[in-house]
């Protein structure tokens, strides 16, 4: 289906100007988010996925700056509009929920006060009406006794309920795009499932697009439609979810999938991608992943690969992706 994306990020570059040097947290990232769909952004800590989200909303720290690129929301470039315009979009057209709801909600205000604030900011309703809307929202996200809960403080709610409250707040103005930055990482596993269920339900109802940022591949597998794999500030693979899991082409993706422990085959050792994520102040020359790559060759130490098309809506940033294919064939052969 060739519909146009709700949100389109083109060649986004966000750098941080610190005392110790320039940190290129996001260095040329492209992806599209479509209405009603979930885009997963996966990668290890420090790969730049959170910074991407903050760049889209332009709520970076003082030291961060978008140096290049476009963020198109329905054809409007968010990087170019002024702050006042941007504020109208934040919380209204694009909403975000963070990882730890305990610290993401202000401890000195009640849950109700914070939701009502969001509502009244973007919609022309009075406080009474906003409060009614807030109670409805709390009910919708599955919080029992919302009339009581609305006047409680964040520390009086459990972790799962806090996250639900955050979701309620984020959805209060029916955004086009919901960015979820590690929404379930701080929650118990059973609650995780509930929250993801909730988000999917609301997505169906509101038809909104979701940008799911996480390091958890399991979450991606269950909830994403398309996936972006990021490493060291760049996109290294971009495909729809089935293709990514069945037919990965980047050595990093390959490594990540391998690292998932499996119950159905015999494993004597758990696989682990060797090495560590590079220090953003001292990126290696050539391909940023090459020090950890099992398929690397001499060329990788000098040149940085561009994104190439390897299939339908499937791009990869690697010179030797065929080697991954070959390795996969061998692996499949092992199980036969």
């Amino acid at each position: 289906m060739e519909k146009s994306p709700v949100l389109s990020v083109k060649n986004l570059k966000t750098y941080f100007y610190t005392e110790d040097g320039i940190v290129k947290a996001v260095d040329g990232v492209d992806f599209d988010v479509y209405q009603g769909e979930t885009l997963g952004i996966v990668g290890e800590s420090g790969c730049g996925k959170s910074v991407t989200a903050l760049s889209i909303l332009r709520i970076l720290d003082e030291k961060g700056r978008i140096v290049e690129g476009q963020v198109l929301l329905d054809a409007v470039d968010l990087t170019k509009i002024d702050e006042q315009e941007m504020r109208k979009i934040r919380g209204k057209d694009i909403a975000i929920i963070f990882q730890e709801p305990m610290v993401a909600l202000n401890p000195v205000f009640t849950v109700g006060e914070q939701i009502v604030e969001a509502i009244m900011l973007h919609q022309k309703v009075d406080e009474k009406a906003a409060r009614v809307m807030a109670i409805d929202l709390l009910r919708k996200v599955g919080i029992p006794e919302p009339e009581k809960r609305i006047d409680q403080y964040p520390h009086e709610l459990s972790g799962g309920m806090r996250q639900r409250a955050m979701i309620a707040m984020a959805l209060s103005c029916k955004p086009k795009v919901l960015i979820a930055d590690e929404p379930t990482t701080a929650l118990d596993v059973t609650i995780q499932a509930q929250i993801m269920e909730l988000m999917k339900e609301l997505q169906r109802e509101y038809g909104m697009a979701i940008m799911l940022i996480t390091h958890d591949l399991g979450l991606i597998a269950e909830n994403a439609d398309r996936v972006v794999v990021m490493y060291a500030g760049k996109v290294v693979e971009y495909a729809d979810v089935k293709t990514l899991f069945n037919d990965p082409k980047h050595p990093y993706t390959w490594g990540l999938l391998h690292a998932i422990p499996r119950l159905d085959i015999e494993q004597t050792r758990l696989y682990n991608i060797p090495g560590v994520v590079p220090d953003p102040l001292h990126f290696p020359a050539g391909c940023k992943f090459h020090p950890r790559c099992e398929f690397k060759e001499e060329r990788c130490t000098r040149e940085e690969p561009e994104l190439i098309n390897v299939g339908e809506n499937h791009t990869v940033r690697c010179f030797f992706w065929q080697k991954v294919d070959e390795a996969k064939m061998r692996k499949v052969g092992e199980f036969m």
């Binding site: 903050l54 909303l57 709520i59 504020r87 109208k88 979009i89 934040r90 919380g91 209204k92 909403a95 975000i96 963070f98 730890e100 610290v103 993401a104 909600l105 202000n106 401890p107 000195v108 205000f109 604030e117 969001a118 900011l121 973007h122 403080y153 520390h155 009086e156 955050m166 707040m169």
Partner: protein, 345 residues
């Protein structure tokens, strides 16, 4: 919330009891003969026969065992008999009642500039971190903190009084003093500025204020610098918190983020410090009243100390202890008001 307050209030008599024991213990360390001077006007003391002296010792229980003495002392104190003040040349109770309102007036009025200037500047410094304004304010604060209050007071005295003649030392000009001592002047609160207004004597009000400006300036000087530091670092810490990011992500204007979301949280440690600071303000009146030659509990205490007027010193200590205990109670209550997380505890 109510239970929290009630619980704290119930602790009050216990603490006062403990403090009274300490104070009492200190007096007793002086021995019965030195203590006599604390209870009787020395002019009279010399003329008493040993028999009469014994009778007085009996009355104040100076020969009795510790427990009995304590009870007698407690009884006397609660009845208002605090002994004789050398400094005031009157019973201690009267000496204190005459001086208390002046000090209360000075300390309470000083809270205003300290809080407003300190907090206001602290927020500015935090929000403009590392820019010129921040550095300027911080240097100002460091210098302020290094300036002893009495040095500052002397300079203020020199500049504003000796050179400019605007703000004289003392409490009131002679004519105003006579007005408030006259029978037509009704005392409602004993605090001169308020009473003057209630009596319709605007001129007395202005005169009292004139005498208050320099002391207030000096007294608050040290503390606004301190409050500024605390506000600034508290604010800076709050600004790094996640919920500030959430607030921005909701689309709130930066001004709202700072003044509503950040400040409420930043104020929590400031309130606790601020409370302690009010107690320090009372302590600071000792120096300030001496520098500006004002009547009040502060100069009373200082003079009593230099002249070894034990009765007065004891009573002053009790007074300041009371302030301390009440002050701490107020801090605890304020803390619960400002931080909802504390209320259930």
């Amino acid at each position: 919330m109510l239970t929290y307050v009630v619980r704290r209030l119930l602790l009050l008599p216990l603490i006062l009891f403990g403090l009274s024991l300490i104070v009492f213990g200190m007096i007793q360390s002086l021995g019965p003969d030195r203590l006599l001077a604390a209870y009787v006007n020395p002019g009279v003391l010399d003329k008493l026969t040993p028999v009469q002296l014994e009778k007085i010792k009996q009355k104040y229980g100076l020969n009795d065992p510790m427990m009995i003495r304590y009870i007698k002392w407690l009884k006397n104190t609660l009845q208002g008999d605090l002994g004789w003040s050398l400094v005031g040349k009157q019973p201690v109770k009267d000496a204190i009642l005459n001086r208390l309102p002046w000090t209360v007036e000075l300390a309470l009025y000083s809270i205003v500039p300290v809080v407003f200037v300190g907090v206001w500047l602290g927020v500015i410094a935090a929000v403009n971190r590392d820019k010129f304004l921040d550095h300027f304010v911080r240097i100002f604060a460091v210098v302020g903190w290094s300036f002893p209050d009495f040095v500052f007071g002397l300079i203020v005295l020199m500049v504003f009084y000796s050179i400019l003649g605007w703000f004289p030392p003392g409490n009131l000009s002679l004519w105003a003093d006579q007005v408030i001592k006259s029978p037509e002047f009704r005392r409602f609160t004993s605090i001169v500025t308020i009473d003057a207004l209630l009596n319709g004597r605007f001129d007395v009000f202005v005169d009292a204020l004139r005498h208050l400006v320099a002391p207030i300036l000096t007294l608050s000087w040290l503390w606004w610098a301190y409050l500024l530091r605390i506000t600034r670092s508290s604010m800076l810490e709050v600004l790094t918190k996640e919920y500030i990011r959430t607030a921005r992500a909701k689309g709130l204007a930066e001004r709202v983020v700072i003044n509503k979301h950040a400040r409420r949280n930043a104020m929590i440690p400031v309130v606790t410090v601020g409370g302690g600071m009010v107690i320090q303000l009372f302590a600071g009146t000792v120096i300030v009243e001496m520098v500006f030659n004002r009547t009040g509990m502060g100069s009373f205490t200082a003079t009593a100390a230099t002249q070894l007027d034990y009765a007065s010193i004891m009573a002053s200590t009790l007074f300041y202890s009371l302030i301390l205990v009440i002050g701490n109670l107020v801090i605890d209550i304020l803390y619960a008001v400002v931080d909802p997380r504390v209320r259930l505890g």
